[in-house]
């Protein structure tokens, strides 16, 4: 039951990320005049329809807004390619989670940011899986010197605090890069840092499965090393790899956020949960006065919680050897 809740939570975010252009009422970089750090729109009823009150700027310096009770702009559903929007964008844009310091809609950036953050985490986890399964499979199958070298390397990488390895590797590249380059770079760094965690378990499984009758039989029938590994031995590690992936994804989501937060992640106009937190952190009043700017942190919590719940009760769900 609780696992279903977790899976549903993750699926919901994945769906939101995929449907971002429809779900978001605005374009990702649309800016609203005179709405800097504006609070979320106040909902009301206009007859039978849901409507919003526009915000009126009271104090530009303090960025204070007042609800304009006199005007109620009804919402418009399923039009212009968006799920929902305001029927009078110019006067009262729909701001579900307010606006940020650059006068952009936070909700829009949150769902578009989910694309960046979740895609990066998923791609990195897949990379770590391929790399780890290959290294672990070869080490477990070959044994001897190859096994020693591969596993000692893996042990060494695992001892290091993952955050610092990622930080040092990222900092070794030019600070200003195109978003696509940053994506590829971060994905490779995360995959390298995460791979040993997959490799170690896969090696142990391959090593023990190799001596099983079915593997010996396959070898006797003339199966080569590649076929034996891919068709017979690695499938035995499926369950282990699935658990590892579920553990790696949250670590990668947080790693992206941390790197972007300190300015070593995605460049400025790109929406990711990390860059949103980075933008929010520029203003000390965010904690006291503009809490909606912290919504990416809440989103991250929900996804990580979902993944943790999905692992509840599964054997090996609680392990200490995850990247830190």
């Amino acid at each position: 039951m609780i696992r279903r809740v977790g899976i549903a939570l993750v699926a919901l975010w994945a769906a939101a990320a995929m449907a971002a252009p429809v779900l978001a009422p605005h374009a990702v970089d649309a800016q609203f005049v005179d709405l800097q750090n504006a609070p979320p729109s106040r909902l009301t009823m206009a007859g039978a329809r849901i409507a919003i009150h526009p915000w009126r700027l009271v104090n530009r310096l303090e960025q204070q807004y007042a609800v304009d009770d006199a005007i109620a702009v009804p919402l418009r559903w399923f039009s212009g390619g968006h799920l929902v929007g305001s029927s009078d964008e110019a006067r009262a844009p729909l701001l579900l989670l307010g606006t940020d310091a650059y006068r952009r809609d936070v909700f829009t950036r949150l769902v578009f940011g989910a694309r960046t953050s979740l895609a990066l985490a998923a791609v990195s986890a897949l990379g770590a899986m391929v790399l780890g399964a290959a290294a672990g499979g070869v080490a477990g199958y070959a044994g001897g010197g190859v096994d020693d070298v591969l596993m000692r390397t893996a042990d060494f990488v695992m001892v290091l605090p993952a955050m610092y390895v990622a930080l040092a590797l990222r900092a070794a590249m030019p600070l200003v890069l195109a978003p696509a380059t940053v994506f590829a770079l971060l994905a490779s760094i995360f995959a390298i840092v995460g791979a040993p965690f997959v490799a170690r378990g896969v090696r142990a499984i391959v090593r023990s499965e190799r001596r099983m009758d079915y593997a010996v039989a396959a070898e006797a029938l003339g199966a080569g090393a590649g076929r034996l590994l891919l068709r017979h031995l690695l499938p035995a590690a499926r369950g282990y790899i699935a658990v590892q992936l579920t553990l790696l994804v949250p670590a990668f989501i947080v790693a992206e956020a941390t790197l972007s937060y300190v300015g070593l992640g995605f460049p400025d106009p790109v929406a990711s949960w990390g860059t949103m937190l980075h933008d929010a952190s520029a203003n000390v009043r965010v904690f006291a006065d503009f809490p909606w700017l912290l919504s990416p942190a809440a989103a991250m919590f929900l996804v990580v919680l979902g993944l943790n719940l999905a692992l509840e009760g599964s054997p090996g769900g609680l392990r200490y050897d995850t990247p830190r």
Partner: protein, 316 residues
């Protein structure tokens, strides 16, 4: 036993040398250097060249590395380009700040997590284990980056404790120590909460495994009270798997304290390293990375040795 300790010691030494060397070389290889960064984009090429010469950045990579190693074996780790002070003077203060933060967090996490784990692992019925378990799952989903944002948010709203920094500008009433403790609340709790949840889960699992063992049942059958069996006999066995992860925890503490130091402006090693990386201050980067590796090496060494005493099998 001595051979085992010597092998682990050699690994610890290798760790420190490899990490500091790798970070130095990596920063040297990175595009741009301190001279070009500090003088800015509009500086004349001759000016940059002069600065490079002054800092010794115009030599080849091999030459710079050899020179650094030659000095490092005499405990001279170069001069920070960014702060114009010897790295040896800069690092201890920052490292001590990080150590204070990390050790406080570790102590809190241990004192909170382990007893709760014993309680939730040894009881099967009632609401208490469920509540503890639920709290742990929630906290496990909040890594230090998120807990620190959340705690800073709470502190900013309520004004109970300071939200950033390590000391107040003027020493307030109550003295400097109380002031430090107040500043420590948010960052230490941010690291400690997820860690305590991790300890609780591990301890609960170990406790559940321990409590069904024959010796526990036998002790209970002899009439020893349940409380005594749980907290004395079963706990002794259940502590072993938890003790095994203690060495690994230092990695978590260092990674966790990085995010927390940045968010709560705690003047620790992580922030120093970030500044040094940004400025391409090669010697300071190597110094910070090396110090982190020393922390790591000491912790793994201590836990390896402790584990070898508890469990003779690992000495092989």
């Amino acid at each position: 036993m001595r051979g085992y300790i010597l092998r682990r010691l050699a690994f610890a030494l290798f760790l420190v040398v490899a990490v500091s060397s790798a970070s130095l070389i990596l920063t040297e290889l990175a595009p741009g250097d301190y001279a070009s960064g500090a003088l800015g984009m509009r500086a004349r090429p001759e000016a940059i060249e002069r600065a490079r010469e002054r800092y010794g950045l115009n030599r080849s990579l091999g030459e710079q590395y050899r020179d650094w190693v030659a000095h490092a074996v005499r405990f001279d780790f170069g001069t920070s380009l960014l702060y114009d002070r010897p790295v040896r003077e800069l690092i201890p203060e920052r490292a001590a700040n990080t150590a204070v933060l990390a050790l406080t967090a570790l102590a809190i996490a241990t004192l909170v997590g382990l007893p709760l784990g014993v309680v939730s692992g040894s009881r099967s019925g009632g609401a208490v284990p469920h509540v503890i378990r639920a709290a742990s799952v929630v906290l496990l989903s909040m890594p230090p980056l998120l807990t620190s944002l959340f705690l800073v948010f709470v502190a900013a709203r309520t004004g109970w404790v300071p939200i950033a920094g390590m000391r107040s500008a003027a020493v307030p009433e109550g003295g400097a120590f109380v002031d430090l403790l107040k500043h420590l609340v948010v960052p230490a709790a941010a690291i400690a909460l997820p860690l305590a949840a991790m300890f609780e889960r591990l301890q609960a699992q170990a406790m559940r495994d321990a409590i069904v063992q024959p010796f526990v049942v036998a002790t209970l059958a002899r009439g020893v009270s349940r409380r005594r069996v749980v907290w004395r006999d079963a706990l002794k066995v259940a502590l072993r798997p938890v003790a095994a992860v203690y060495g690994l925890v230092v990695g978590t503490l260092l990674s966790g304290s990085f995010a927390v130091e940045v968010i709560t402006a705690w003047p620790g090693l992580g922030r120093l390293m970030l500044d040094a990386l940004g400025a391409r201050d090669v010697y300071l980067v190597a110094g910070c990375a090396g110090t982190g590796a020393v922390f790591l090496a000491c912790a793994t060494l201590a836990s390896d040795v402790a584990l070898a005493f508890v469990d003779p099998r690992v000495r092989e």
